[in-house]
């Protein structure tokens, strides 16, 4: 792919080796190039290795097979250039909503007052005003998820790795969040890798959609999906619906395979 790719995943395989039980191959020979400030969605059946791929790019898991480069440098460790919204939120239970959002900012160069303002702005953005002092255990599922989103957006990473970030949100909040995300993306020139199960969402948000195969995950196809994100009626457009159907079909194939291949 293009030499100007910002994230290059090359022939990456990953095996989980639990302390007891057998080795699980989660990814196999995954290759993927993502351009700077691209918005790419990752789709695939449950358990196909989407989160694993994100963890690898994030630098959390050791890359044992293959190579992942970000901005031309091999990934070896996590870094604040790549912000992650985790599937299970990974909030700090001993910090309040505000504390969680502030955490990412503390290492930045912002003066204290500005950090506060910024944290508050993102809490407001995700609609958690009034819950600044609540601990994660006192939040509903969707509120936790929104805290996680606010936390990652607040510290303004160059690359966003988002693992089903809107999964626990109601339709309206979700659509609102989508708009905000697109807005931020357009304004701040971020690169986004976005895992979702909602094909419509993927097609609407992303410029390209990568569909993964059943476990062990590979990249099955990459589909271009550049629609006009400012058209509120886009969901009803013929081309849009067809694209959704096409991708749905692709995922479906894999999901059915997954159902079948579990019993290996």
């Amino acid at each position: 792919m293009s030499a100007s790719a910002q994230i290059v995943v090359k022939d990456v395989s990953h095996d989980y080796r639990p302390p007891v039980g057998r080795v699980v191959r989660a990814l196999e020979d995954v290759s993927l190039s993502i351009r700077e400030r691209e918005f790419i969605a990752l789709l695939g059946p449950s358990g196909c290795g989407k989160s694993t791929l994100l963890y690898l790019i994030g630098g959390f898991l050791r890359i044992e097979n293959g190579r992942i480069c970000v901005d031309g440098r091999a990934v070896t460790a996590p870094g604040p250039d790549r912000g992650v919204v985790f599937q299970h939120f990974a909030l700090f239970p001993w910090k309040t909503v505000k504390g969680n959002v502030l955490y990412g900012l503390e290492r930045g160069k912002l003066p204290r007052a500005e950090r506060e303002t910024r944290a508050q702005a993102f809490i407001d953005l995700v609609g958690l005003t009034g819950f600044e002092d609540s601990y994660p255990s006192q939040l509903s599922g969707g509120m936790k998820q929104r805290t996680a989103i606010a936390r990652t957006l607040a510290f303004d990473p160059q690359i966003l790795l988002m693992d089903e970030p809107f999964g626990a949100l109601d339709a309206q909040t979700r659509s609102l969040m989508q708009t905000e995300l697109l807005d931020i993306w357009q304004k701040t020139r971020k690169t986004v890798i976005f895992v979702t199960h909602d094909v419509q969402e993927a097609v609407y948000l992303a410029e390209r959609v990568a569909v993964m195969t059943a476990r062990p995950g590979r990249i099955k196809t990459i589909v271009d999906t550049a629609f006009d994100k400012n058209d509120p009626q886009i969901y009803r457009a013929r081309t849009f619906v067809d694209k959704v159907d096409e991708i749905w079909g692709l995922v479906r194939e894999e999901a059915i395979k997954a159902q079948g291949t579990h019993a290996r």
Partner: protein, 281 residues
Amino acid sequence: MAHVTGVRDRTSRGWRNAPASPFVARIGWGLARSASIVLLLAGWEILARSGTFTPFVLPALTSVLERILADAMSGDLFLGASATLYRALTGFLIAAVGGISLGMAMTRSIGIRWFFDPIISVGFPMPKIAFLPVVILWLGLYDVSKISMVAFEAIFPVVTATIVGIKGVDREIIWSARNMGASNRELLCQIMLPAAFPQIMTGLQVALPISLIVAIVTEMLMGGNGLGGGMMSASRFADSPGVFAGIVEIAAIGYCLIKGMSMLRRRMLLWHQEALEPSTV
């Protein structure tokens, strides 16, 4: 959103199942809490007065209390207690800081773990009292040696608890901090420590009474006033009320320390599951 502040309308409606007023409830629980102590003390007094035992074997509670009162008036109690507390708490603090640091270092660095892991396994169950002469020769007979003994004995539970706590930290939480640019040191202080804090606190809760015990035992063995020294000389002179006064004083002081510790725990772990009443569904 006036509804959110539900406390006001709660009283006006008088809900079914509503818990009794907090004030009454607190008094009730307070009484329940003292019941066992009262029973214990009453049992003691009755047993002692029944004549089954000589006053040497089991002095009456009242005579013991008289002794404590006398000690308190003369100021001996205060002197002894403060000497013991000073030794116990200083040793405990050293053990706490040292134990947490060592525990954290052991989970971070393979080299440190390699070095200390077998040493802890050997050192923990070692009857360290046997090394008392060595300690005396190196550190003298005074506070330094006693405090060292306390710290040395109390550090082990802190270290193992810290390790267990840190090992149990959810890996996604660590990842999430690393992702936001936390350095190794920040990770340790800002993430591992609070996340493992419940367990570490448990280790400290174990170490605190141990500190007190070791302080008293070393006082008994090496002299040097304090509650332990007092008890030892009382026991040498077959002064039973003195011995039992010591027991009661230690119990009272220990009880306060332990209570303080669990209050600290409650304050520091407000975010934790355990801050809630256990779900009794």
